[in-house]
Amino acid sequence: MARRDTAAFAEFAAARSRSLYRAAYLMVGDHALAEDLLQEALTKTYVAWPRLRAVANADAYARKAITTTAINWWRRRSWHAERPRGDVPEVAVRDHSDRVSDHDTMWMELQGLPPRQRAAIVLRYYEDLTERETAEAMGCSVGTVKSQVYAGLEKLRTRLGPAAVPMTTEMGVGR
Protein backbone atom coordinates (compact mmCIF):
# COMPACT_ATOMS: atom_id res chain seq x y z
CA MET A 1 0.00 0.00 0.00
CA ALA A 2 1.20 3.54 -0.67
CA ARG A 3 3.82 2.07 -2.93
CA ARG A 4 5.65 4.17 -5.38
CA ASP A 5 4.07 3.49 -8.73
CA THR A 6 7.22 3.80 -10.79
CA ALA A 7 5.45 3.50 -14.11
CA ALA A 8 2.98 6.24 -13.27
CA PHE A 9 5.78 8.48 -12.06
CA ALA A 10 7.83 7.83 -15.19
CA GLU A 11 4.85 8.74 -17.32
CA PHE A 12 4.23 11.87 -15.31
CA ALA A 13 7.86 12.93 -15.56
CA ALA A 14 7.99 12.28 -19.29
CA ALA A 15 4.74 14.12 -19.92
CA ARG A 16 5.46 17.15 -17.75
CA SER A 17 9.22 17.60 -17.90
CA ARG A 18 9.15 19.87 -20.95
CA SER A 19 6.61 22.22 -19.42
CA LEU A 20 8.32 22.26 -16.03
CA TYR A 21 11.67 22.82 -17.68
CA ARG A 22 10.37 25.88 -19.52
CA ALA A 23 9.20 27.48 -16.30
CA ALA A 24 12.49 26.57 -14.63
CA TYR A 25 14.42 28.14 -17.49
CA LEU A 26 12.47 31.38 -17.23
CA MET A 27 13.16 31.50 -13.52
CA VAL A 28 16.90 30.85 -13.68
CA GLY A 29 17.78 32.02 -17.19
CA ASP A 30 20.28 29.25 -17.77
CA HIS A 31 19.66 25.96 -19.58
CA ALA A 32 22.05 23.81 -17.54
CA LEU A 33 20.79 25.24 -14.27
CA ALA A 34 17.22 24.73 -15.40
CA GLU A 35 17.97 21.07 -16.08
CA ASP A 36 19.47 20.71 -12.61
CA LEU A 37 16.41 22.40 -11.17
CA LEU A 38 14.08 20.09 -13.07
CA GLN A 39 15.98 17.02 -11.92
CA GLU A 40 15.87 18.18 -8.30
CA ALA A 41 12.18 19.05 -8.46
CA LEU A 42 11.26 15.71 -10.01
CA THR A 43 13.34 13.87 -7.42
CA LYS A 44 11.41 15.64 -4.68
CA THR A 45 8.19 14.77 -6.46
CA TYR A 46 9.22 11.12 -6.60
CA VAL A 47 9.84 11.10 -2.85
CA ALA A 48 6.39 12.62 -2.23
CA TRP A 49 4.73 10.47 -4.89
CA PRO A 50 2.75 8.10 -2.63
CA ARG A 51 0.95 11.06 -1.06
CA LEU A 52 0.18 13.03 -4.20
CA ARG A 53 -2.49 10.71 -5.59
CA ALA A 54 -3.64 12.69 -8.61
CA VAL A 55 -2.12 14.42 -11.62
CA ALA A 56 -3.21 17.86 -10.45
CA ASN A 57 -1.56 17.30 -7.06
CA ALA A 58 1.65 16.03 -8.64
CA ASP A 59 1.73 18.94 -11.05
CA ALA A 60 1.23 21.48 -8.29
CA TYR A 61 3.85 19.77 -6.13
CA ALA A 62 6.42 19.70 -8.93
CA ARG A 63 5.77 23.36 -9.74
CA LYS A 64 6.19 24.30 -6.11
CA ALA A 65 9.38 22.27 -5.93
CA ILE A 66 10.73 24.10 -8.98
CA THR A 67 9.88 27.49 -7.52
CA THR A 68 11.00 27.04 -3.94
CA THR A 69 14.14 25.19 -4.97
CA ALA A 70 15.04 27.95 -7.39
CA ILE A 71 14.55 30.59 -4.72
CA ASN A 72 16.61 28.59 -2.23
CA TRP A 73 19.39 28.11 -4.73
CA TRP A 74 19.45 31.81 -5.37
CA ARG A 75 19.70 32.47 -1.67
CA ARG A 76 22.69 30.17 -1.41
CA ARG A 77 24.35 31.43 -4.58
CA SER A 78 24.77 35.14 -4.21
CA TRP A 79 25.92 35.45 -7.80
CA HIS A 80 22.39 34.61 -8.86
CA ALA A 81 20.82 37.28 -6.71
CA GLU A 82 19.60 40.52 -8.15
CA ARG A 83 22.06 41.77 -10.69
CA PRO A 84 22.68 45.53 -10.48
CA ARG A 85 22.06 47.14 -13.80
CA GLY A 86 23.86 50.36 -14.53
CA ASP A 87 22.85 50.37 -18.16
CA VAL A 88 19.27 51.57 -17.78
CA PRO A 89 17.85 51.86 -21.28
CA GLU A 90 16.80 55.26 -22.57
CA VAL A 91 13.25 54.17 -23.17
CA ALA A 92 12.10 57.40 -24.76
CA VAL A 93 14.45 57.11 -27.69
CA ARG A 94 14.30 53.36 -28.32
CA ASP A 95 13.57 52.13 -31.80
CA HIS A 96 10.38 50.10 -31.45
CA SER A 97 10.98 48.26 -34.70
CA ASP A 98 13.92 46.36 -33.29
CA ARG A 99 11.98 43.36 -32.05
CA VAL A 100 14.94 41.12 -31.37
CA SER A 101 16.75 43.78 -29.44
CA ASP A 102 13.64 44.53 -27.39
CA HIS A 103 13.21 40.87 -26.70
CA ASP A 104 16.76 40.48 -25.46
CA THR A 105 16.59 43.64 -23.39
CA MET A 106 13.40 42.57 -21.69
CA TRP A 107 14.86 39.14 -21.03
CA MET A 108 17.93 40.66 -19.42
CA GLU A 109 15.82 42.92 -17.28
CA LEU A 110 13.63 40.03 -16.17
CA GLN A 111 16.71 38.05 -15.22
CA GLY A 112 17.96 41.06 -13.31
CA LEU A 113 15.03 41.02 -10.92
CA PRO A 114 15.37 39.54 -7.44
CA PRO A 115 14.54 35.83 -7.41
CA ARG A 116 11.15 36.04 -5.71
CA GLN A 117 9.95 38.82 -7.98
CA ARG A 118 11.12 36.88 -11.02
CA ALA A 119 9.43 33.68 -9.85
CA ALA A 120 6.20 35.49 -9.08
CA ILE A 121 6.11 37.10 -12.54
CA VAL A 122 6.89 33.82 -14.31
CA LEU A 123 4.16 32.00 -12.41
CA ARG A 124 1.58 34.76 -12.87
CA TYR A 125 2.21 35.74 -16.47
CA TYR A 126 3.85 32.77 -18.13
CA GLU A 127 2.14 29.93 -16.24
CA ASP A 128 -1.07 31.97 -16.01
CA LEU A 129 -1.61 31.01 -12.38
CA THR A 130 -3.99 32.92 -10.17
CA GLU A 131 -2.62 34.84 -7.22
CA ARG A 132 -3.71 32.06 -4.91
CA GLU A 133 -2.06 29.38 -7.06
CA THR A 134 1.08 31.46 -7.27
CA ALA A 135 1.10 31.84 -3.49
CA GLU A 136 0.83 28.07 -3.11
CA ALA A 137 3.65 27.49 -5.55
CA MET A 138 5.89 30.00 -3.77
CA GLY A 139 4.91 28.92 -0.29
CA CYS A 140 3.85 32.42 0.72
CA SER A 141 0.72 34.52 1.21
CA VAL A 142 -1.38 36.06 -1.53
CA GLY A 143 -0.38 39.45 -0.20
CA THR A 144 3.28 38.61 -0.68
CA VAL A 145 2.58 37.54 -4.24
CA LYS A 146 0.87 40.86 -4.92
CA SER A 147 3.74 42.85 -3.48
CA GLN A 148 6.39 40.80 -5.31
CA VAL A 149 4.58 41.08 -8.62
CA TYR A 150 3.97 44.81 -8.13
CA ALA A 151 7.60 45.49 -7.25
CA GLY A 152 8.87 43.41 -10.15
CA LEU A 153 6.62 45.04 -12.70
CA GLU A 154 7.46 48.49 -11.40
CA LYS A 155 11.16 47.82 -11.91
CA LEU A 156 10.54 46.55 -15.41
CA ARG A 157 8.39 49.59 -16.22
CA THR A 158 11.09 51.90 -14.93
CA ARG A 159 13.72 50.24 -17.08
CA LEU A 160 11.71 49.34 -20.17
CA GLY A 161 8.95 51.90 -20.27
CA PRO A 162 5.19 51.65 -19.85
CA ALA A 163 4.72 50.38 -23.40
CA ALA A 164 6.52 47.15 -22.56
CA VAL A 165 4.79 46.63 -19.24
CA PRO A 166 1.53 48.60 -19.21
CA MET A 167 -0.08 49.50 -15.91
CA THR A 168 -3.26 47.71 -16.87
CA THR A 169 -2.52 44.88 -19.17
CA GLU A 170 -4.08 41.84 -20.71
CA MET A 171 -2.02 39.85 -18.25
CA GLY A 172 -4.85 39.44 -15.86
CA VAL A 173 -3.48 41.29 -12.86
CA GLY A 174 -5.67 40.81 -9.83
CA ARG A 175 -7.10 37.42 -10.60
Binding site: R4, R18, L38, R51, A58, V165
Partner: protein, 366 residues
Protein backbone atom coordinates in the same frame (compact mmCIF):
# COMPACT_ATOMS: atom_id res chain seq x y z
CA UNK B 1 9.22 48.10 -27.14
CA UNK B 2 6.11 46.46 -28.47
CA UNK B 3 6.34 42.98 -27.03
CA UNK B 4 4.58 42.33 -23.84
CA UNK B 5 6.31 40.55 -21.05
CA UNK B 6 4.17 37.47 -21.58
CA UNK B 7 4.98 37.36 -25.28
CA UNK B 8 8.67 37.57 -24.52
CA UNK B 9 8.53 34.80 -21.92
CA UNK B 10 6.52 32.57 -24.23
CA UNK B 11 8.95 33.12 -27.09
CA UNK B 12 11.94 32.43 -24.85
CA UNK B 13 10.37 29.29 -23.43
CA UNK B 14 9.37 28.04 -26.88
CA UNK B 15 12.89 28.54 -28.16
CA UNK B 16 14.47 26.69 -25.25
CA UNK B 17 15.76 23.23 -26.17
CA UNK B 18 14.11 20.23 -24.61
CA UNK B 19 15.61 19.09 -21.32
CA UNK B 20 18.01 16.17 -21.35
CA UNK B 21 16.25 14.23 -18.64
CA UNK B 22 16.86 10.59 -17.77
CA UNK B 23 13.80 9.51 -15.80
CA UNK B 24 15.73 6.46 -14.60
CA UNK B 25 18.30 8.76 -12.99
CA UNK B 26 15.51 10.70 -11.30
CA UNK B 27 13.95 7.52 -9.94
CA UNK B 28 17.26 6.22 -8.66
CA UNK B 29 18.01 9.55 -7.00
CA UNK B 30 14.53 9.54 -5.50
CA UNK B 31 14.96 6.03 -4.15
CA UNK B 32 18.24 6.98 -2.51
CA UNK B 33 16.57 9.98 -0.92
CA UNK B 34 13.68 7.89 0.37
CA UNK B 35 16.17 5.57 2.02
CA UNK B 36 18.08 8.47 3.55
CA UNK B 37 14.86 9.96 4.89
CA UNK B 38 13.90 6.67 6.49
CA UNK B 39 17.29 6.33 8.10
CA UNK B 40 17.17 9.91 9.33
CA UNK B 41 13.73 9.27 10.74
CA UNK B 42 15.20 6.52 12.86
CA UNK B 43 16.85 8.99 15.13
CA UNK B 44 13.89 11.32 15.38
CA UNK B 45 10.87 9.08 15.29
CA UNK B 46 9.06 8.22 18.43
CA UNK B 47 6.00 6.24 19.21
CA UNK B 48 3.77 6.93 22.16
CA UNK B 49 1.52 4.19 23.41
CA UNK B 50 -2.00 5.44 23.22
CA UNK B 51 -5.42 4.41 24.35
CA UNK B 52 -5.56 0.91 22.95
CA UNK B 53 -3.09 -1.49 24.52
CA UNK B 54 -1.15 -3.79 22.26
CA UNK B 55 -1.26 -7.33 23.52
CA UNK B 56 2.02 -9.19 23.40
CA UNK B 57 1.93 -12.43 21.48
CA UNK B 58 3.08 -15.35 23.55
CA UNK B 59 4.68 -17.08 20.58
CA UNK B 60 5.09 -14.64 17.78
CA UNK B 61 6.60 -16.90 15.14
CA UNK B 62 5.44 -20.29 16.26
CA UNK B 63 3.31 -20.99 13.24
CA UNK B 64 0.10 -20.02 14.97
CA UNK B 65 -2.97 -19.37 12.89
CA UNK B 66 -2.72 -15.61 12.22
CA UNK B 67 -6.48 -15.24 12.35
CA UNK B 68 -6.48 -16.51 15.92
CA UNK B 69 -4.13 -13.77 17.05
CA UNK B 70 -5.44 -10.41 18.21
CA UNK B 71 -5.06 -7.92 15.38
CA UNK B 72 -3.12 -5.57 17.63
CA UNK B 73 -0.38 -8.17 17.66
CA UNK B 74 -0.05 -7.72 13.93
CA UNK B 75 0.50 -3.97 14.06
CA UNK B 76 4.04 -3.47 12.92
CA UNK B 77 6.31 -0.69 11.74
CA UNK B 78 10.03 -0.06 11.72
CA UNK B 79 11.99 2.93 12.92
CA UNK B 80 15.68 3.01 12.17
CA UNK B 81 17.12 -0.26 13.47
CA UNK B 82 14.01 -1.29 15.38
CA UNK B 83 11.12 -3.36 14.12
CA UNK B 84 8.01 -2.85 16.24
CA UNK B 85 5.82 -5.93 16.39
CA UNK B 86 2.83 -5.50 18.65
CA UNK B 87 4.31 -4.26 21.89
CA UNK B 88 7.63 -6.02 21.49
CA UNK B 89 10.58 -4.70 19.54
CA UNK B 90 13.32 -6.37 17.53
CA UNK B 91 16.66 -4.57 17.35
CA UNK B 92 18.53 -5.29 14.13
CA UNK B 93 21.40 -2.80 14.67
CA UNK B 94 23.72 -1.97 13.07
CA UNK B 95 21.37 -2.31 10.11
CA UNK B 96 18.82 0.37 9.28
CA UNK B 97 15.55 -1.09 8.04
CA UNK B 98 14.62 0.47 4.72
CA UNK B 99 11.86 -1.99 3.82
CA UNK B 100 10.59 -5.20 5.31
CA UNK B 101 7.94 -7.89 5.23
CA UNK B 102 6.51 -10.32 7.72
CA UNK B 103 6.46 -14.05 7.05
CA UNK B 104 5.18 -16.86 9.27
CA UNK B 105 8.72 -17.28 10.55
CA UNK B 106 9.79 -13.73 11.29
CA UNK B 107 10.77 -10.61 9.37
CA UNK B 108 12.81 -10.19 6.20
CA UNK B 109 14.22 -6.71 5.76
CA UNK B 110 16.43 -4.72 3.43
CA UNK B 111 19.23 -2.65 4.92
CA UNK B 112 20.53 0.61 3.52
CA UNK B 113 23.18 -1.10 1.44
CA UNK B 114 20.53 -3.21 -0.28
CA UNK B 115 21.41 -6.45 1.48
CA UNK B 116 18.47 -8.58 2.58
CA UNK B 117 18.36 -10.08 6.07
CA UNK B 118 16.03 -12.34 8.00
CA UNK B 119 15.37 -12.33 11.72
CA UNK B 120 13.07 -14.49 13.78
CA UNK B 121 13.57 -12.13 16.71
CA UNK B 122 17.15 -13.13 17.32
CA UNK B 123 20.29 -12.42 15.36
CA UNK B 124 19.89 -11.38 11.75
CA UNK B 125 21.06 -13.62 8.93
CA UNK B 126 21.85 -12.30 5.46
CA UNK B 127 19.71 -14.05 2.87
CA UNK B 128 20.39 -11.98 -0.24
CA UNK B 129 21.65 -8.78 -1.80
CA UNK B 130 19.29 -6.70 -3.88
CA UNK B 131 22.09 -4.54 -5.21
CA UNK B 132 20.08 -1.44 -4.43
CA UNK B 133 16.43 -2.09 -5.11
CA UNK B 134 14.84 -2.43 -1.71
CA UNK B 135 11.28 -3.51 -2.33
CA UNK B 136 10.28 -6.82 -0.80
CA UNK B 137 7.12 -8.84 -1.18
CA UNK B 138 5.55 -11.63 0.83
CA UNK B 139 2.24 -13.44 0.94
CA UNK B 140 -0.26 -12.60 3.65
CA UNK B 141 0.72 -15.89 5.21
CA UNK B 142 3.47 -18.31 4.34
CA UNK B 143 7.24 -18.31 4.23
CA UNK B 144 8.17 -16.87 0.84
CA UNK B 145 9.79 -13.46 0.46
CA UNK B 146 10.72 -12.04 -2.93
CA UNK B 147 12.85 -9.22 -4.28
CA UNK B 148 14.71 -8.07 -7.37
CA UNK B 149 18.48 -8.17 -7.65
CA UNK B 150 20.50 -5.78 -9.77
CA UNK B 151 24.22 -5.28 -10.00
CA UNK B 152 25.60 -2.00 -8.81
CA UNK B 153 26.16 -0.62 -12.29
CA UNK B 154 22.93 -1.67 -13.99
CA UNK B 155 24.87 -3.67 -16.58
CA UNK B 156 23.36 -7.07 -15.98
CA UNK B 157 19.78 -8.19 -16.39
CA UNK B 158 17.84 -7.91 -13.14
CA UNK B 159 16.96 -11.18 -11.45
CA UNK B 160 13.87 -12.00 -9.43
CA UNK B 161 14.59 -14.04 -6.32
CA UNK B 162 12.27 -15.87 -3.90
CA UNK B 163 13.56 -17.10 -0.55
CA UNK B 164 11.83 -19.53 1.80
CA UNK B 165 12.20 -18.38 5.42
CA UNK B 166 10.98 -21.74 6.74
CA UNK B 167 13.57 -23.80 4.88
CA UNK B 168 16.12 -20.95 5.02
CA UNK B 169 17.03 -21.34 1.39
CA UNK B 170 16.57 -19.64 -1.95
CA UNK B 171 13.84 -21.42 -3.89
CA UNK B 172 13.46 -19.44 -7.13
CA UNK B 173 15.55 -17.23 -9.39
CA UNK B 174 15.00 -15.93 -12.92
CA UNK B 175 16.41 -13.21 -15.15
CA UNK B 176 13.42 -13.39 -17.50
CA UNK B 177 11.34 -10.74 -15.77
CA UNK B 178 12.22 -7.82 -18.04
CA UNK B 179 13.34 -4.35 -17.00
CA UNK B 180 16.92 -3.21 -16.93
CA UNK B 181 19.41 -2.01 -14.35
CA UNK B 182 17.91 1.48 -14.31
CA UNK B 183 14.30 0.41 -13.93
CA UNK B 184 14.34 -3.17 -12.70
CA UNK B 185 11.08 -5.09 -12.49
CA UNK B 186 9.28 -5.01 -9.16
CA UNK B 187 8.11 -8.05 -7.28
CA UNK B 188 4.57 -6.86 -6.69
CA UNK B 189 3.10 -9.82 -4.88
CA UNK B 190 3.53 -13.39 -3.77
CA UNK B 191 0.27 -15.25 -3.58
CA UNK B 192 -0.39 -18.95 -3.15
CA UNK B 193 3.10 -19.94 -4.27
CA UNK B 194 3.16 -17.66 -7.31
CA UNK B 195 5.48 -14.66 -7.61
CA UNK B 196 4.06 -11.74 -9.60
CA UNK B 197 6.41 -9.27 -11.24
CA UNK B 198 5.68 -5.92 -12.78
CA UNK B 199 7.96 -4.49 -15.45
CA UNK B 200 7.69 -0.73 -15.58
CA UNK B 201 9.76 -0.30 -18.72
CA UNK B 202 7.76 0.20 -21.88
CA UNK B 203 6.53 -1.86 -23.53
CA UNK B 204 5.02 -3.25 -20.37
CA UNK B 205 5.13 -6.98 -19.90
CA UNK B 206 3.35 -9.18 -17.42
CA UNK B 207 5.21 -11.98 -15.71
CA UNK B 208 4.50 -14.50 -12.98
CA UNK B 209 5.94 -17.88 -12.06
CA UNK B 210 4.98 -20.82 -9.90
CA UNK B 211 7.80 -20.80 -7.38
CA UNK B 212 7.82 -24.57 -6.85
CA UNK B 213 7.92 -25.53 -10.54
CA UNK B 214 9.37 -22.37 -12.11
CA UNK B 215 6.59 -22.59 -14.69
CA UNK B 216 5.23 -19.29 -16.01
CA UNK B 217 1.74 -18.39 -14.85
CA UNK B 218 -0.69 -16.04 -16.62
CA UNK B 219 -0.52 -12.54 -15.21
CA UNK B 220 -1.84 -9.06 -15.95
CA UNK B 221 -0.34 -5.81 -17.09
CA UNK B 222 -0.54 -2.91 -14.64
CA UNK B 223 -0.95 -5.34 -11.78
CA UNK B 224 -1.13 -3.71 -8.38
CA UNK B 225 -1.92 -6.52 -5.96
CA UNK B 226 -2.80 -10.20 -5.76
CA UNK B 227 -4.60 -11.93 -2.91
CA UNK B 228 -6.16 -15.37 -2.76
CA UNK B 229 -5.99 -15.65 -6.54
CA UNK B 230 -7.70 -12.33 -7.15
CA UNK B 231 -5.65 -10.01 -9.29
CA UNK B 232 -6.11 -6.26 -8.93
CA UNK B 233 -4.91 -4.19 -11.83
CA UNK B 234 -5.38 -0.78 -13.33
CA UNK B 235 -7.94 -0.37 -16.03
CA UNK B 236 -6.75 1.91 -18.80
CA UNK B 237 -8.70 3.19 -21.72
CA UNK B 238 -7.12 2.84 -25.13
CA UNK B 239 -4.12 0.76 -24.15
CA UNK B 240 -2.62 3.04 -21.56
CA UNK B 241 -2.91 6.19 -23.65
CA UNK B 242 -5.46 7.64 -21.26
CA UNK B 243 -5.47 7.82 -17.48
CA UNK B 244 -6.42 4.75 -15.57
CA UNK B 245 -9.99 5.09 -14.50
CA UNK B 246 -10.84 1.97 -12.54
CA UNK B 247 -9.47 -1.06 -10.80
CA UNK B 248 -10.25 -4.48 -12.21
CA UNK B 249 -10.33 -7.30 -9.69
CA UNK B 250 -10.68 -10.77 -11.13
CA UNK B 251 -9.23 -14.23 -10.96
CA UNK B 252 -9.05 -14.15 -14.75
CA UNK B 253 -5.92 -12.17 -15.66
CA UNK B 254 -7.37 -11.27 -19.05
CA UNK B 255 -10.76 -10.11 -17.85
CA UNK B 256 -11.62 -6.43 -17.97
CA UNK B 257 -14.48 -6.88 -15.47
CA UNK B 258 -15.57 -6.27 -12.81
CA UNK B 259 -14.38 -2.71 -12.44
CA UNK B 260 -14.27 -0.73 -9.26
CA UNK B 261 -14.11 3.05 -9.09
CA UNK B 262 -10.85 4.71 -8.38
CA UNK B 263 -9.33 8.12 -8.63
CA UNK B 264 -8.83 9.28 -12.20
CA UNK B 265 -5.36 10.00 -13.39
CA UNK B 266 -2.35 8.80 -11.50
CA UNK B 267 -3.12 7.17 -8.21
CA UNK B 268 -0.34 6.05 -6.00
CA UNK B 269 -2.03 4.51 -3.05
CA UNK B 270 -2.60 1.50 -5.19
CA UNK B 271 -5.78 -0.45 -4.80
CA UNK B 272 -5.09 -3.07 -2.18
CA UNK B 273 -6.85 -6.33 -1.56
CA UNK B 274 -7.52 -7.79 1.84
CA UNK B 275 -5.84 -11.20 2.34
CA UNK B 276 -8.83 -13.19 1.10
CA UNK B 277 -9.62 -10.72 -1.66
CA UNK B 278 -12.92 -9.95 0.00
CA UNK B 279 -12.30 -6.20 0.23
CA UNK B 280 -10.65 -3.60 -1.96
CA UNK B 281 -9.14 -0.50 -0.39
CA UNK B 282 -8.52 2.28 -2.88
CA UNK B 283 -8.75 6.01 -3.51
CA UNK B 284 -11.72 7.56 -5.22
CA UNK B 285 -12.00 11.12 -6.42
CA UNK B 286 -14.68 13.43 -5.12
CA UNK B 287 -15.37 17.12 -5.66
CA UNK B 288 -13.65 17.92 -2.39
CA UNK B 289 -10.59 15.84 -3.21
CA UNK B 290 -10.07 12.15 -2.69
CA UNK B 291 -10.73 9.70 0.04
CA UNK B 292 -10.02 6.08 0.79
CA UNK B 293 -12.89 3.68 0.46
CA UNK B 294 -13.29 0.02 1.26
CA UNK B 295 -15.55 -1.90 -1.11
CA UNK B 296 -16.73 -5.47 -0.74
CA UNK B 297 -15.67 -7.14 -3.97
CA UNK B 298 -18.57 -9.54 -4.39
CA UNK B 299 -21.34 -7.03 -3.77
CA UNK B 300 -19.59 -3.80 -4.79
CA UNK B 301 -20.92 -2.34 -1.56
CA UNK B 302 -18.93 0.36 0.19
CA UNK B 303 -18.10 -0.67 3.75
CA UNK B 304 -15.56 2.00 4.68
CA UNK B 305 -15.05 2.28 8.45
CA UNK B 306 -15.81 5.67 9.92
CA UNK B 307 -12.78 7.77 10.76
CA UNK B 308 -13.09 11.37 11.86
CA UNK B 309 -10.88 14.22 12.93
CA UNK B 310 -8.12 14.01 10.37
CA UNK B 311 -7.22 16.18 7.42
CA UNK B 312 -5.57 13.29 5.60
CA UNK B 313 -5.58 9.55 6.02
CA UNK B 314 -2.98 7.33 4.44
CA UNK B 315 -3.64 3.60 4.52
CA UNK B 316 -0.61 1.45 5.29
CA UNK B 317 -1.48 -2.26 5.10
CA UNK B 318 -4.09 -4.90 5.82
CA UNK B 319 -3.58 -6.69 9.12
CA UNK B 320 -6.08 -9.44 8.36
CA UNK B 321 -9.24 -9.82 6.36
CA UNK B 322 -11.13 -7.34 8.51
CA UNK B 323 -8.64 -4.75 9.71
CA UNK B 324 -6.12 -2.42 8.18
CA UNK B 325 -3.67 0.13 9.49
CA UNK B 326 -4.08 3.81 8.69
CA UNK B 327 -2.05 6.94 9.37
CA UNK B 328 -4.19 9.90 10.39
CA UNK B 329 -2.75 13.38 9.87
CA UNK B 330 -4.22 16.54 11.32
CA UNK B 331 -1.83 18.62 9.20
CA UNK B 332 0.11 17.94 6.05
CA UNK B 333 0.64 14.27 5.27
CA UNK B 334 4.36 14.47 4.69
CA UNK B 335 5.35 11.16 6.22
CA UNK B 336 7.25 12.93 9.00
CA UNK B 337 4.80 15.03 11.01
CA UNK B 338 3.16 13.88 14.19
CA UNK B 339 0.25 11.62 13.33
CA UNK B 340 -1.91 8.88 14.75
CA UNK B 341 -1.61 5.24 13.80
CA UNK B 342 -5.05 3.69 13.69
CA UNK B 343 -6.47 0.24 13.20
CA UNK B 344 -9.70 0.29 11.24
CA UNK B 345 -12.16 -2.58 11.38
CA UNK B 346 -14.59 -3.17 8.54
CA UNK B 347 -16.89 -5.29 10.71
CA UNK B 348 -16.91 -2.73 13.52
CA UNK B 349 -17.19 0.15 11.08
CA UNK B 350 -14.76 2.23 13.09
CA UNK B 351 -11.10 3.02 13.69
CA UNK B 352 -9.10 3.22 16.91
CA UNK B 353 -5.84 4.98 17.63
CA UNK B 354 -3.16 2.52 18.71
CA UNK B 355 -0.15 4.79 18.84
CA UNK B 356 1.22 8.16 17.81
CA UNK B 357 4.10 8.45 15.37
CA UNK B 358 6.46 11.26 14.54
CA UNK B 359 9.30 11.18 12.05
CA UNK B 360 10.15 8.65 9.38
CA UNK B 361 8.56 5.24 9.77
CA UNK B 362 8.68 2.20 7.52
CA UNK B 363 5.62 0.03 7.09
CA UNK B 364 5.80 -3.50 5.73
CA UNK B 365 5.71 -3.95 1.99
CA UNK B 366 2.91 -6.18 0.90
Amino acid sequence: MTETLKDMMTARADAAPGPHLDVGDVIRAGRRRVLRNRAAGGTAACAVLAAVALIAPTHPFGGADPSAVDSADRVTYAVGSTIHDGNRTIDVAPHEVTSYVRTDDGFAYAAQDGRIYFTDGGASEQIGDSGGDHRLAADDSGSYVGWTEVDGYGDQRPEVVVYDTARRTEVFRTSAAGGDGRLPPLVMAIDDGVVYVRDDLKPYTAAAWDVSTSDPVPSSLALTDVANGYIARDYWRDNAQNPRTATIVSRDPDSDQPRFPRLDGISNSLSDLSPSGRYILSDVGEPSGFRQVVVERATKTEVTPRVVGYAHEDPAYWIDDDRYVLEGYTGINDGMSKRDLLVCSVSAGSCEVVTTLEGGVTFPDD
